[in-house]
Amino acid sequence: MKAEFSEYLTQTAPAIRTMIARLQEHFDYVSVLATDSTGFRISISQKARDISSETMMTERGNVIRVYRDGLYSEYAFNEPDLAHPEAQAETIRQALEKQIELLRLTGTEVYETGKLADEPQELFVEMETGTMPEDADLDSLVKELTAVSDAAMKQGEHLIDCRLTAQSTHVCKMFLTPNRDLRQSYVYSEGTVMPMAMKDGRMEYAYAGVAERQGPEIFAGLRDKMQEAVRIAEELLTAERIEPGEYDVITTPEVSGLIAHEAFGHGVEMDMFVKNRALGKEYIDKRVGSDLVTMHEGALAAVNVASYAFDDEGTAAGDVIEIDHGILKTGVCDALSALRLGVQPTGNGKRENFEHKAYTRMTNTIFEPGNDSLDDMIASIDYGYLLAGMQSGMEDPKHWGIQCIIERGYEIRDGRLTGRVVTPIIMTGYVPDVLGNITMASRETEVFGTGGCGKGYKEWVKVSDGGPYLKTKARLG
């Protein structure tokens, strides 16, 4: 079925248009992003349960962007006065003028930027989905999640709990300017399972999940994920510590995705080019990885939780090849950074929600697959590890360092998995070395969308990433 566009936004559009017209009398550019995204989140464990209507992307509000004298200003609000839009526009104008006066008093200079184009455009997108979050049978879902948690406790000898979450969001966004009217509606869902095991005072946990740009029907996949996660949690109870050093490694698609995201995902967010905070700016058309490295980024690069029709600045979604056979070709860019750099925006201007500023952000970041089989990749290693399970990562675009915290490693000796498991692992390195040392890539590939992404330590947005199994060298601790 089609995900129907928000009735509320449809009703508020005329008032917002009136506000735009009024503000246009005082500013050279005016746009409004209006949002109305609803959903649910259920958390079930053996010990406690919770249900709420809030997910990472549920919101209802508006952000006005205005431009004058080289400066962009924004006003975010969520109590529109639909009966008196002109008066509200005037209140907003006065508030912004007062803030700008403060800047004059402090002698603040403006980073002058050109005016955004406002070519006529209309778009109305209602994406296909299975069931809608608002139609979900929550009673059955709670029962199923409870049953999965109960089944986990029977399966795992040492489990102290098994926590499951299921959340589904119906995203509706409307972008209006004097000449543009863009509206989109889609659904994404994500579910996780996290068994926790304890033995002789040692506590370990595993994590697995499902995520798609689909409705709550995807939660049926959690039962299978649970079986895998419970096995891993039990396995980790006897895992050893790794001997620090540099190893030949194979990364599972999940870890490959983490590398894509942290290594060059953040590294070519072009708002960082404007600030001269990314080394990538100096490496366009230069080699940053082996021939096997081709990396895509864009809302159209995959169909997953970050796949939309247009971004939060009204730019159409794209699919950019950032690295082509090891050569860095370009980055991704929000609309204002594109103006400053003299390039085209790529549809990557995203906000945490209407209350937050738009930055250049990732959507789906994915390595292309290769032609190797996983068996051949394992057979090619004398001593190393198969790295699995993503815990977290951190970018370092300025110096091209990379930090990935990985759940576990399976030892490989003489081309075979030995059964020895190590945990946890911190993988660090210099990004061009990690990518330059990629010598094999599998045919099978997978995309993961259960995580979130911050910029520095804030501004959380949904992203997905993935790729094939990759063979490289890495420093593990």
Partner: protein, 425 residues
């Protein structure tokens, strides 16, 4: 206006209990590239969140949702109905809600523009040089009014400021340029502290330019003298958190050592009602429980648990609360004593993390000082890792403390036996 109607509808619906949180914020935000303004923003929002409780078959279920702005009577009625139904799906063992309280903050906050101006001016007055300067910064100042009302008669209104400053510092030499990242959070602008801290960061940037690769150190003492140490202290806080205890993740009881075999300094941790310029100074917590000073861990022994009412009730505890601020003490040494012998002092991590579940810790080293007992080397790269649970046995802390927003902690912490993975032989 909306609240009165909502309360009336809740009464009509016959809910067993309800809680409403009404948060109004007015924020000024400024984004700078170098010292030029990239963008200015205002946030003027109101979020009303409703939680409905149902008692049934020995359970207390609950469901919550934001009452979406613009909701009319019909929409609110529909929402209440949905929450009533959803609460019946949540079969949590019964517990009691906090008793009724009434409170209203009387203090007047500084005008938001004044706080913002303080931040702008402090950033314009830093000792930058040709080779060490500010790359970019973001200023966030917020005035919050939080109202919490319940069916039991609680009515708490609190007014508080919060602010944060994200700063990126550059240092350069010849063609090489590095950056350092800092995030400061507080109630309002502390000009002196910020100027001192950012000036120190500019100096740190100079050192990073001279850094060599971290050597392979095997295991080594590691000194923490930045806010990375908070991650370690939060592991101890989680040991005395009611939810962690109820879920079996924390396996200690009152009177137990928070981690087994503490042979070094024996830390004490307290909840604090007030810390100067903290962004978390509140009289009542998010569930309407009064916040007070309370010792949680004394000399390494668990003395009180803290946390949400629901889990406290399950553990048979009453009178718990969710503190905003914490203090950590128990150090027995001077900073100089902690900086003796062979150790690695890490002053910049990519992202230092400690698992709240099992205490596993890890972080990539962006800048550290390696003291081999005689010489000091400035190093970068590689990582530190280990388990706080195991390493806490050799915990050493300074007597003097430093405040990071809502945490007052020893200025220096030293752990022995940390694995340091280097990138040079």
């Amino acid at each position: 206006m909306m609240l009165e109607e909502l309360k009336e509808l809740l009464k009509e619906a016959g809910t067993d209990a309800w809680e409403i949180t009404d948060l109004k914020t007015l924020a000024y935000e400024f984004y700078f590239i170098r010292h030029r303004l990239d963008q200015n923003r205002i946030r003027d929002t109101r979020h009303v969140t409703l939680k409905v409780y149902r008692r049934f078959d020995g359970f207390l279920g609950s469901a919550s949702a934001e009452v979406m702005p613009g909701s009319d009577r019909e929409a609110m009625q529909k929402l209440i109905g949905e929450l009533q139904e959803r609460a019946l799906l949540i079969r949590n063992p019964e517990y009691t809600l906090n008793p009724a309280v009434q409170h209203k903050d009387e203090e007047t906050l500084p005008e938001i523009g004044t706080i913002a101006r303080d931040f702008i001016e402090v950033m314009q007055d830093l000792p930058e040089t040709e080779t060490e300067d500010i790359n970019s910064y973001e200023i966030f100042t917020t005035e919050n009014t939080r109202r919490f009302i319940t069916s039991a008669g609680t009515a708490v209104t609190m007014v508080y400021p919060s602010a944060s400053l994200e700063v990126v510092v550059n240092a350069r030499q010849d063609r090489q340029e590095i950056e350092l990242y800092r995030m400061y959070t507080s109630g309002t602008c502390d000009r002196e502290m910020l100027k001192k801290e950012i000036s120190r960061t500019l100096q740190t940037g100079r050192d990073k330019l001279r850094a060599e690769s971290t050597p392979e150190l095997g295991t080594c003492d590691v000194v923490f003298s930045t806010d990375a140490a908070l991650q370690i202290y939060e592991y101890f806080l989680n040991r005395v958190n009611v939810r962690m205890k109820y879920q079996g993740i924390s396996d200690i009881s009152i009177g137990d050592e928070v981690v087994p075999g503490m042979a070094g300094d024996r830390l004490s941790v307290s909840a604090a009602r007030y810390l100067p310029n903290s962004s978390a100074n509140r009289s009542y917590d998010s569930e309407g429980a009064p916040v007070r000073d309370l010792t949680l861990i004394r000399d390494g022994i668990a003395e009180n648990f803290w946390g949400a009412r629901q889990y406290a009730c399950y553990l048979g505890l009453d009178n718990t609360f969710i503190p905003g601020n914490f203090t950590v003490s128990g150090g027995t040494r001077t900073e100089a004593q902690l900086r003796q012998g062979r150790y690695l002092e890490v002053v910049e991590f990519s992202d230092f993390q400690v698992s709240p579940f099992n205490g596993d810790m890890a972080g990539e080293i962006r800048l550290a000082y390696y003291h081999d007992g005689e010489k000091v080397r400035i190093v970068s790269g590689g990582s530190v890792s280990g388990s706080v649970r195991e390493l806490a046995a050799y915990l050493c802390m300074s007597v003097n403390q430093v405040q990071y927003d809502r945490m007052l902690v020893p200025a220096v912490l030293r752990l022995s036996g940390v694995t340091v993975t280097g990138i040079a032989g």
